[in-house]
Amino acid sequence: MDELNGFPVSRRELLGGGAAAAAATAAPMSAEAAEGAVNAQAPTMPCSFEVNGQQRDLDLDPRTTLLDALREHLHLTGTKKGCDHGQCGACTVIVNGQRINACLSLAVQHTGDKITTIEGLGQPGNLHTMQAAFIKHDGYQCGYCTPGQICSAVAVLDEIKRGVPSHVQTDIAAAAQFTNMELRERMSGNICRCGAYSNIAEAVAEVAGGVA
């Protein structure tokens, strides 16, 4: 039958052969070869910072983002990788008291810094008030953006306290107050695909002692 069809090859063999052919084509620039070349060019660098109160000393490829250092090297996987381009806020951590996108920062830029991740804010049985408020107000559905939302929210309340201005202030020279509009503006760098925004706003408002 195979001879009649002139196709003496099974689908699996065909796919296998295809993959082998593709691999052969790609061979001159295989991942391993590229990796070798890259490693020769970019040796690792020492990098030391404090994470959640603990001194951490790493030896990293300079390309490693702060986000990947936290997740892949320190196994602090609470901080999430969403877009990896600073657009979604899932990777928000607090560095020297200020929230930043960990994905748009190299780990080596942070030598000497003090970093707080969601794991450092609170732990099971010892929750940060913001974590407890998110649970109480159901401030999430899938939960993927939640660590970033919580780190951001904690920092936002501090920013309002420190008088950092925002786009929605009528008088830019005056001190900001906590309002729902202020919160929405200041949290605009944290995207929630499930759309839990109104519950997030209620949670943060409760911690702020204001009205959402």
């Binding site: 201005p165 830019i172 020279a173 929405r184």
Partner: protein, 316 residues
């Protein structure tokens, strides 16, 4: 991301020398734009010179009553400074109209000036782009142009300078201070800092190779009411379709610059003489010679109406 080596310079001159010494080296400040572009391999520096230890993070008064803003001052620190909020409100307003809280905490004054366009064809490495790959062509011309430029563009590139802060700096007549690898310093008026790139859209500023921005200075305050109105597709955290920075005096005279419309913050000083006649008269002069595409011709009307709103508010 392509491999690179990394160092932290100790002085501005050392940083300038380090970048000049190695072909393909770049300064690294906050990294919020550069690292994004490196991940996409649109930027492929072989060496990064981190400028965070150069002590360029102070805002200080100048002898002539203005302010000197260190290149490494973050957007948040600059927008929060009491003197800036009181005397240069347009600058605080412009900064807080841009990006997100997280990004403003990391982004710096110099880095913000150097941020690259958000033209979707520049970001899409499958498309020709004269800015990304000189000589490859421009896919934006004849493409989707809603976000793109309407004036000052060229047949090689129709992208815009995307930022907000520089539009306010243009209205305030700021100056960009630099040091070059030989230790020579110079002061570049903000009007001359961003180029009308013509047939070389990959060269966006008048900085020379290895030249490092050390500060941005503001002349003494000019009073007036300060406005920065930004129109965009979302209420927050989006680039401008059109933005208008203006300082309007009590007698109705004033200064105005436009963002989101050109390769640089767009200010036509001669048009400001018409301020008392209203937005239509100003916009007619500001946008004389504009070459909009079908999808972005609305920007000219939008700019005029946004300025009209500001002038009404200033009178109110």
């Amino acid at each position: 991301m392509k491999a690179f080596t990394y160092e932290r310079a100790k002085t501005p001159l050392d940083a300038a020398k380090a970048v000049a010494a190695k072909e393909g080296a770049k300064f690294l400040a906050g990294g919020t734009n550069l690292l994004d572009l490196m991940k996409l391999e649109i930027e492929t520096p072989v060496h990064l010179v981190d400028v965070q230890d150069l002590k360029l993070n102070q805002i200080e008064a100048t002898d002539d009553g203005g302010l000197r803003i260190g290149a490494f001052v973050t957007n948040t620190a600059l927008a929060s400074d009491e003197r800036v909020r009181r005397d240069y409100g347009v600058l605080t307003r412009a900064i807080v109209a841009g990006a997100s809280g997280q990004l403003r905490n990391k982004a710096t004054t110099a880095g913000n000036l150097l941020q690259r366009t958000r033209c979707p064809y520049f970001y899409d490495t499958n498309m020709p782009c004269n800015k990304r790959k000189p000589g490859s062509g421009c896919a934006a011309i004849g493409g989707v142009t809603r976000q793109l430029g309407v004036i000052g563009t060229s047949s090689a590139c129709v992208a815009t300078y995307p930022g907000d802060m520089a539009v306010a700096l243009r209205v305030l007549d700021a100056t960009v201070e630099t040091v070059d690898p030989q230790g020579k310093t110079r002061a570049i008026p903000i009007a001359d800092f961003h180029r009308l790139w013509g047939d070389k859209p990959h060269i966006e500023t008048t900085l020379l190779p290895g030249e490092l921005i050390t500060a941005v200075t503001l002349p003494k305050p000019i009073g007036g009411k300060h406005f920065y109105h930004k129109v965009r597709d979302r209420a927050s955290y989006a680039f401008a379709l059109v933005s208008v920075a203006a300082v309007i005096q009590q007698d109705g005279s004033g200064r105005v610059a436009f963002g989101g419309v050109a390769p640089k913050p767009w200010r036509v000083e001669a048009a400001e003489a018409s301020m008392k006649q209203g937005a239509k008269a100003v916009a007619a002069k500001v946008f004389a010679g504009a070459k909009p595409a079908k999808d972005n011709a609305f920007k000219i009307t939008l700019a005029e109406r946004t300025l009209a709103g500001i002038l009404a508010e200033a009178r109110g």
